[in-house]
């Protein structure tokens, strides 16, 4: 069964990896990929890393992106535009840790991309 993929975008590789660990403890099947730090593993974000994470996370049911701070959102949006896909969306103004956790759980129930995004929004609005 295919699941909606989750991409974790953080300025810090450690933050992204740590959140993935937390999700993995409960959700083993859902694709969760990280895009933490810049290309040289410094603090920041990288469009190329985000694009690669989207590709890895995409099992055919779409991908939902979570980010930490403002510039990560901008790079997430650039990556989505470059992907030219309707099935890659950014969870805007939603918490990275709790949001992606809720998203992964919803994805694990077999929901569609829009359903997962709606559920995350509902949990935090």
């Amino acid at each position: 069964m295919a699941y909606v993929g989750i991409v974790l975008i953080s300025h810090s590789p450690k933050v992204a990896e740590g959140i993935k660990d937390i999700i993995r403890q409960v959700m083993k099947e859902v694709p969760v990929e990280t895009a933490g730090g810049t290309d040289d593993h410094e603090i920041g974000t990288s469009v190329e890393k985000i694009q690669a994470a989207i590709e890895r996370a995409d099992g055919g049911k779409g991908v939902l992106l979570f980010y930490d701070l403002g510039s990560a959102m901008m790079n997430a949006e650039v990556a989505v535009e470059l992907s030219e896909s309707e099935d890659v969306k950014v969870a805007v103004d939603l918490p990275l840790l709790e949001g992606s956790y809720v998203g992964a759980v919803e994805s694990g129930m077999g929901k569609s991309l829009d359903e997962v995004l709606a559920a995350v929004k509902k949990a935090f609005k």
Partner: protein
């Protein structure tokens, strides 16, 4: 005014020189109200731009500015990457098929670039971001179909200096609220270098 591939290459080179020479200064500005990486981000990004443009051949300003955009978007880790990258991408799309780029075409391109920056960063004028330099420069271009390049530089400089008194609403500095007052916005200073470099190219071309 008129811009061709040669003059835009000069523009980018001058801008890169200013950024490399002021790397520490830009970083110190960002240390005061941000995370202290603006000089590093811009220096890395524009060095990559120069590496790319000096080893490529371009027939049009549109092709050249597109390469600048893609390099900045992929090589700059901070907010300035997607912001300047989007600006150059929109400029590139707008001046497609317009070589040499005349005043009207360039003004339309700057309008598109500013729209792109604002779409990307969700920022309005007066929120202490580089929008505060781009918006007055756009108005200057719209109001003056012929101008002395020095006036363009002056407009950008006054706009850059005016960011000092603003309380930040967008970007990292916004977390500081009132404490962001009294400091120049780093992105506005790098945008001033961008238009200062352009003014110098126009001056030399006269």
């Amino acid at each position: 005014m008129e811009l061709n591939v040669q003059s835009v290459l000069k523009w980018i080179e001058k801008l890169n020189d200013k950024i490399q020479n002021n790397k520490e200064y830009l970083t110190s500005l960002d240390q005061a109200i941000g995370d202290g990486d603006h000089g590093i981000n811009m220096a890395r990004g524009f060095q990559e731009v120069i590496n790319k443009t000096t080893t490529s051949q371009y027939d049009t300003v549109s092709d050249l500015t597109k390469d600048v955009a893609m390099t900045l978007m992929s090589k700059v880790g901070g907010a300035s990457g997607p912001l300047y990258g989007t600006a150059f991408l929109k400029l590139s799309m707008s001046v497609k098929g317009k070589d040499p780029v005349d005043h009207d075409a360039f003004t339309a391109g700057v309008q598109e670039a500013l729209n792109g920056i604002q779409q990307r960063g969700k920022a309005n004028e007066g929120e202490k971001t580089l929008v505060d330099v781009w918006a007055p420069v756009l108005r200057f271009l719209q109001e003056n179909s012929e101008f002395e390049p020095g006036k363009l530089e002056e407009t950008a400089k006054v706009a850059m200096e005016s960011t000092k008194d603003i309380i930040a609403i967008r970007g990292r500095a916004a977390y500081l609220k009132e404490r962001s007052k009294g400091h120049l916005d780093p992105g506005s200073v790098s945008s001033f270098y961008l238009f200062q470099s352009l003014a110098e190219v126009l001056q030399e071309g006269e």
